[in-house]
């Protein structure tokens, strides 16, 4: 009888373990593109902005070459702490409500392949190198917090964290990682943005997002 009870107990443990797992949820959101081998972990509870919305917002851009760039986008997703943030807000530099994460993988055209550099990666959103070279031309609230090289398995580039004042005069902190594939054909971009006040309050959580950005490349 004891051995029967023991066997039933073993079976129950295995069964309950399996059943328990079905009721749990993951601790993070894993934004993943298996084609390009790009991964980033987002805290649970953030809102995802679908690719179709991002495509739609970007297609409205009137900037020169915007259509070509959109055509070269291989994968992009966005996540925000606030459901109020729209795709358009993700793609402009206006400080979002709460925090926003935008991850993007884009193929480079022939001109870009020949001209891209670490500085051009730094100048992805704002002319950082100009601001650094000539403080007179710099944004009034520009502060460079960190700037270092990141090397991934199939790509390398620059992670830069800085603060500046957006068009509405709100201080915004940006944690941008721009990596260039080793064959110089693709860029992998991760931008984590928030109002500086919000950023400072959730700095660990937001830094962890930047830290999780991983590029393994196409398998």
């Amino acid at each position: 009888m004891r051995s029967t009870a023991k066997r039933i107990a073993i079976s129950s443990v295995i069964a309950s373990a399996l059943i328990t797992l079905t009721g749990c949820s993951q601790s993070q959101i894993y934004a993943t593109d298996k084609v390009t081998g790009t991964y980033v972990a987002i805290p649970n509870g953030w809102n995802k902005i679908e690719k179709s919305e991002l495509d739609k917002a970007e297609s409205k851009s009137t900037a020169p070459g915007a259509a070509e760039k959109l055509a070269n986008v291989l994968w992009h997703e966005a996540y925000t702490t606030s459901p109020e943030v729209t795709a358009t807000q993700i793609l402009n530099l206006q400080a979002p409500v709460g925090a926003a994460v935008y991850v993007r993988v884009r193929a480079l055209d022939f001109t870009e392949i020949n001209s891209i550099s670490y500085n051009s990666l730094r100048n992805l959103l704002v002319p950082l190198t100009t601001w650094l070279d000539d403080p007179a031309k710099a944004n009034p609230k520009f502060v460079l917090i960190d700037d270092y090289e990141r090397v991934e398995k199939v790509a390398r580039g620059i992670r830069t964290i800085y603060t500046f004042e957006d068009a509405a005069g709100v201080s915004e902190t940006v944690d941008q990682t721009a990596l260039l594939s080793d064959d110089r054909t693709q860029v992998y971009i991760l931008v984590v943005r928030a109002k500086t006040k919000y950023y400072n309050k959730h700095v660990d959580e937001l830094l962890a997002i930047g830290d999780s950005f991983t590029v393994r490349g196409d398998k």
Binding site: T4, I14, L21, Q28, Y39
Partner: protein
Amino acid sequence: MTIQSRPRDTDRKTRVHLSVYDRTKFLLLFALTFFVLAWASMADNPLLSFSDALVKTADDKVWLIVLAGIEIVRQIHFALAELLAPYHGIWLKYFVFVNRLLGKLSDWNRFRLGRVIKWLVFVAMFSIVLGAIYKETPVRALFLAPKALWSALPMIGQLMFAVVFVIIQFAAIFWFLSRGGVDTYFPDDIKTRFSDVWGQDHVLNRIRENLLFLETPELIEKHGGYVPGGILLWGPPGTGKTLMAESMAGETGKPFVFVDPGAFTNMFMGIGVLKVKSLFRKLRKLALRYGGVVVFLDEADALGNRGISRPAMHSGTTDAAIFGTPCNGGNYLSDPGKSLVTNATMANNKFMMGGAAGGGGSGTLQALLTELSGLKKPRGFINRVVRRALGMRPKNPPKYRILVVMATNMPEALDEALLRPGRIDRMYRVGYPSKAGRIRTYEGYLDKVSHSLTAEDIDKLATITPYATGAIIKDTINEALIMAIRNDRTSITWTDVIKAKQLKDLGPAEDVEYIERERHAVAVHEACHGVMAHLVRQHMAIDLATIEKGSDYLGMVASIPPDDQFTRWRTEYEADILVSVASLAGERMFFDGDNSSGVSGDLESATTIASFMEGHWGMGSTISSHASNRRNEVGAPGGNRGKDDGTKDLRMALGDRIENNLATLLSRAEEILKENKFKVLALAHALETHKTISGDDVIAVMNGEKGPLVDGRPYSIQSNLDAIWNYHLAAVVAHQKHERPDLPIPVFEAS
């Protein structure tokens, strides 16, 4: 109180308890699959933590959880059926048809069906896992697997080479070491036939019968019998066992495999086992191809045993070790008598022959036992592996017609398990040839050389060589031929054969010249044996008498039985003892009560025979067997020494009774010798004169006739006997004073 047995399945009210393995195997399989899939998720996403991977897998593979749930429900159902009889009863009542359906399948089909289902489940799970790895559907992933295997082949090949290379080295070494020692002969390779084996017709007839059964096994099998598969030929060396085997090879129409005695003795452990397996593989192959095979293991005692000593069937001890006395005191005994004394002496000295573990060792014997009569296993790679893999029942092994013949002169050294029926079905003693066999053997070997022996001579030769084996006869004839050639002749004469026989029996003389008084003493000693043997021992004939010193004797009187006799009688043993103690009686009588140490061997022989007569053979004053008394620890008749009543003799201790018997026989010997003292001195004179004389010469001296070598007629003349007596007295004085005799040995003219 009745013995409680474990209930039969049909008697149970509850379901039979499942083992832990059966209880958990599917859950473990599902758990394993689950973890493999979780591992695949983690490999797919470097950011995924283990806990998140488990959760993700549980979300993605709900079907796995469902299967696990079904399995759990099933196990709960089983557990309830095991614990609750009513539940089990209800279940049986409504679902017994399932068991009936399954029961209609044969065990083998159920096994095959079960295996197919298990394989399908395995393939399904495997394809799911592959699908997770390849990011494909399970079916597509299953077809991608061979591609992956193909691309991995170079690496697998390298690994396999590394492993196989080492294995091949070992296998090659052991393969080479396990070669040799086994020779195969095919019909007509060997010319020897049964007609070339002489003097062993009774054994040959039996062997012929075995070969007949091998050729036509239906003769016995259709009547429900089986063909005897093993023969042991045992007997003294040189009796033709190997020749018999050779003739079997010549007679049979089947292949014949000779196994060398040393084939299973190896430097490394395990080689013997490999050799045995290799040998029997070969035998099975030959048996199938040719419908039968004969294998002969010569000197089978080389196989050894596992330490269990068999009771001796035949003593292999040399007499020299026992009769190492100056007189070679056992030589005038018959061979059974000698054998008796030898065995008894060996037993006293705690000397064991054979029986020791040895031979191939390291499992060789066990491997042989298994091959001779082990499990009837399915054999062959295709039969055992391929057929089974294809779900086909292996074929039963065919009947291998293998006749195993072993030969040994030390059957006591063989393992008991080897000799049991089923392995060795028949044991034939290849003993000393009968007289007719010896005659046939002499004729056979003499036919090969030129000789002048008549049929009567050959008959007589066979008579005086009662224990001659084929090998001894062959050697004697060859020695006679050498003697003839040495004398510039090419034809063998009777004298050559007799001299060759003496040379073989006694060994070459040492050409030692005794001093006169010692020569006379040795001659008198042997003459006492000779006269006594001539007068009282009718069951033996004197073969020769000699005072030429050999390697381990000073002189001897050798006797032979004139007929093949298989029983012995009290009067014969008494005569043996009289002949033995004649030396002591004679020495004391002729040398004024003095006697030499040369009688020690004689007394040992006499005492041993007297002991057996008194204690074993019912030839003494008591009936009970001393052997039985000693074995059963009941004590021998004896004790109450002081009691003086009518049964005093019967109550004497065994040793006392033996001593009394010997003393009585010694007195008889003294009387006989006293009555025949001149005959003793006459025979001693003949021995001193001629050194070695034949049995016919001894008779000639006794009867005063002319013998082949010695003219006995002068010994019937009283003046000659007086001269011999005077010479003897002079020799006795010389013996007492340790000086040369005053008188020379008398010389008589041949009349």
